[in-house]
């Protein structure tokens, strides 16, 4: 049995921890059946507003709701300050790292990171070499996934520097909570997250190409309504008051990216793209892509459009790169990383591979390019047969995998028919980078709804919670 997980709300003696004190007394004063009814009401709100996501490979159930749990996850101001400092340091390091690998490559020359890990990485884009985006910002919008294992022990689980998703749930969860329980927000002083769309818009506008005159025109590029995150793309465009465009709306004319409107073609200055690098420009990347804009990379290189996040930032999401993050942070900031990495074995290294194969039952194995909880093995809960099959995959392509110890993720209670029950959670705070780094106080808490499960991904039966950061 795994050791008992750290519960963020209750101590072992069943006393509420300080950030939860006010909430707990409110909760105890509530009629349970009313809360269960409220829980249904929340689901109706989500269904009515169409807050859905698509699960790939489920043709019949093409739109699903992410279950929402109405017990908030609460973080104290001091805990948050600590996290925020660590996140800021990390995001600054990520941008410096990106600038370096696409220019002088000093980190390679200094022998801190093997050259082949960068240059033979699929997410490394040679087209970006020597290219410096407006303001020198590569990753404008970052989601840093954080897990907690004890009172004072936080780890960064992964960096999402390419296209972090889920921020619409952060906003809708808060909106729903405020609608259903306004009294809670009188009693608890919760830091606001609602201004995220405004901050994002400002942040993007401030990084418009230098030649842009007047107010920059911003657009969000979506792969379209069949994409799993389409709701979020539409939601953000709506909240920010910017255009929501698809590849078929855009064309390069006279060296500028323009969109087809009812009055002719109009120039776009900043493109927040939610389309992967590979699909961005069929002339540069995948020729068969219809999601992107032919020639946009030329416009980008000529400095006539800002693309957020910059192409080639995906390399930071690579889990082999992740294992070097402590070195990366120290190399660029000159200080030790404030936030810890989860110890990681790179299976490309023979000694590590040997250890991993011998200890499969205790480890979590992940693909270096994987995301969304797909293609991973959770050793302790896998069957003997699953482990044996996975061992074969590991031996065939060791460089494709990393391994980490199974962390005992912290728990926060969820509402169940019989009362409350602890479930494992993680946290994705959202970070905006322009000439400054802004971290939204809160983020998306994902919760594994199955008892004992450590997998919080929405595609694998995870839910979400509103995340509160309290004022001092």
């Amino acid at each position: 049995m795994a050791p008992l997980a750290f519960d963020e709300m209750m101590t072992a003696d069943n006393e509420p921890r300080p950030p939860y004190k006010t909430y707990n007394s409110w909760f105890e004063s509530q009629d349970r059946s009313r809360l269960i009814a409220k829980s249904k009401e929340a689901e109706n709100i989500f269904r009515k507003t169409g807050i859905t996501f698509a699960v790939y490979g489920h043709a019949d159930s093409s739109e699903k709701l992410i279950p929402f749990d109405l017990i908030p996850r609460i973080i104290s101001a001091s805990e948050w300050r600590r996290l925020a400092q660590g996140i800021e340091q990390r995001v600054i390091a990520l941008n410096a790292f990106l600038d370096d690998i696409y220019h002088k490559q000093e980190i390679i020359k200094a022998g801190r990171i093997p050259r082949e890990l960068i240059e033979r990485n699929d997410a490394f884009l040679p087209q970006m070499i020597g290219m410096r985006p407006p303001g020198g910002v590569y990753t404008h919008i970052v989601g840093t996934d954080i897990v907690r294992t004890a009172e004072d022990q936080f780890y960064v689980l992964e960096d999402n520097a390419r296209t972090p998703s889920g921020v619409s749930y952060m906003l809708e969860n808060r909106e729903t909570m405020m609608q259903m329980f306004p009294d809670l927000f009188h009693e608890n002083r919760v830091q606001p997250v609602e201004n995220y769309p405004y901050l994002l818009r400002q942040s993007l506008a401030s990084l418009a190409p230098p030649g842009c005159q007047g107010k920059p025109r911003i657009a969000i590029l979506t792969p379209g309504i069949y994409n799993s995150a389409y709701y979020e793309h539409a939601f953000l465009a709506d909240q920010m008051g910017v255009e929501l465009v698809e590849g078929s709306d855009l064309r390069v004319i006279d060296g500028r990216v323009k969109m087809r409107t009812t009055r002719g073609y109009a120039q776009i200055d900043v493109l927040y793209r939610r389309v992967d690098d590979d699909y961005l420009d069929p002339l540069t990347f995948k020729p068969e892509s219809v999601l992107g804009v032919p020639g946009i990379m030329d416009v980008y290189r000529a400095g006539n459009i800002t693309i957020a996040n910059a192409p080639g930032t995906g390399i930071c999401d690579d889990k082999a790169i992740y294992s070097y993050m402590p070195e990366i942070v120290e190399f660029y900031t000159g200080r030790k990383a404030l936030l810890e990495n989860v110890p990681t074995w790179r299976c490309s290294e023979p000694d590590s591979l040997k250890y991993v194969l011998e200890n499969l039952a205790d480890l979590v194995i992940k693909e270096v390019h994987g995301s969304g909880g797909y293609g991973m093995l959770v050793g302790p809960t896998a069957t003997r047969k699953e482990r044996a099959l996975f061992a074969e995959k590991l031996k065939a392509r060791p460089g494709n995998y990393i391994a980490q110890p199974t962390l005992s993720l912290s728990t926060v209670p969820i509402l169940v028919n019989k009362g409350i029950a602890p479930r494992h959670v993680d946290l994705r705070p959202y970070v905006l980078v322009s000439d400054k780094v802004q971290i939204i106080p809160g983020g998306l808490t994902r919760v594994a709804l199955k008892a004992g499960s450590l997998v919080v991904n929405s595609s694998q039966g995870g839910g979400t919670k509103d995340t509160w950061v309290l004022e001092d």
Binding site: K48, G50, D238, T262, R263, A266
Partner: protein, 312 residues
């Protein structure tokens, strides 16, 4: 100014909402007529399917067996104009143009889709039909209400309205034409009670039998009914009213964008003809021929709007 694709999505969203409602009304009219014409039910549903423009599709699947007609019109996915298909397409377009809609309009559309999808999930029993048809009218009415109460009167509004009225004009013209397909009266039946019931059904299908009574104070006459549904610009489903609205929206766009397209000329021409012709002129030309002509021009206008405003 908005994306061409957004204008396209709005236009078709509202066309399909209108069509969903009209498909339901058509079934309603068919049901009423079938109550008085039980011995001729076959021809009747053939006529209704022709009116809806899906007779050929139906026959290619079911041949001359009309027992599937109601299901086909209400919920068959093979029929792009069935109520269920229309609502799905309308909601699909609404999702695509989500950012152009107010929350109220989007939620009304999404709810309409959720509710009708549930109501139309299974084959309908005859006893349930009136209730379902009523739900279609009510739910689409709620979308219209939310739209009117909350949307800014800008180009987004104009494209949506043009979709509504192009579709409505088309549907009203087709409903009138039903007389040609099904109800072509034998000379001996003109003015008979059967003839009256048929006209009343047509008026009912456009929610206009009471209004007709107010305006024409009397019995059902072919010329009066044609006048009402074609030329009367106070009747919200008449061709004249639809074209007033279409033209008004086109003129709005012309002022806002300071440009003019072939669509403006076509709409003005049709409007003039609706204003200056009398119902006698129409009947002299032949009602069916007149309507056929109108439907073609209406389609042409739709095409010109799509091209002029770069829908694709």
């Amino acid at each position: 100014m908005l994306l061409g694709r957004t204008a396209y999505g709005l236009y078709w969203m509202f066309r399909y909402i209108e069509r969903a409602e009209n498909s339901a009304r058509l079934v309603d009219a068919g049901l009423r007529m079938s109550l008085t014409r039980s011995h001729m039910n076959g021809d009747l549903w053939d006529g209704v399917l022709q009116t809806s423009g899906v007779g050929d599709v139906y026959e290619s699947i079911y041949g001359q067996n009309w027992s599937e007609a109601i299901d086909f019109l209400m919920r068959d996915k093979a029929n792009p104009s069935s109520v269920l298909s229309c609502i799905e397409t309308a909601r699909h377009n609404a999702r695509m143009v989500r950012t152009a809609l107010t929350r109220e309009t989007w939620e009304a559309t999404n709810e309409c889709w959720l509710d009708l999808k549930a109501l139309l999930a299974r084959r309908l029993k005859p006893a349930d039909l009136p209730e379902v048809i009523d739900a279609v009218k009510r739910k689409t009415g709620l979308i219209r209400g939310a739209f009117h109460g909350s949307m800014l009167r800008n180009d987004i509004f104009n494209f949506s309205r043009m979709g509504t009225f192009i579709e409505r004009a088309d549907n009203t013209a087709r409903i009138l034409d039903v007389k040609y397909y099904v109800l072509l009266p034998a000379v001996t039946q003109v003015g008979s009670s059967i003839d009256n019931v048929q006209w009343e059904s047509i008026l009912r299908s456009v929610s206009a039998h009471r209004a007709y009574g107010w305006v024409y104070e009397g019995e059902y006459k072919a010329a009066n009914i044609a006048d009402f549904l074609i030329l009367n610009n106070r009747m919200p489903r008449s061709l004249a009213y639809c074209y007033e609205q279409i033209l008004g929206n086109l003129q709005h766009l012309q002022r806002e964008y300071s440009d003019r397209h072939a669509a403006h000329d076509t709409a003005e021409r049709t409007m003039k003809s609706l204003q200056h012709h009398s119902i006698k002129d129409v009947m002299d030309q032949g009602l069916h021929e007149y309507i056929e002509d109108f439907i073609n021009q209406n389609n042409q206008l739709s095409q010109e709007i799509s091209e002029g405003y770069r829908f694709l």
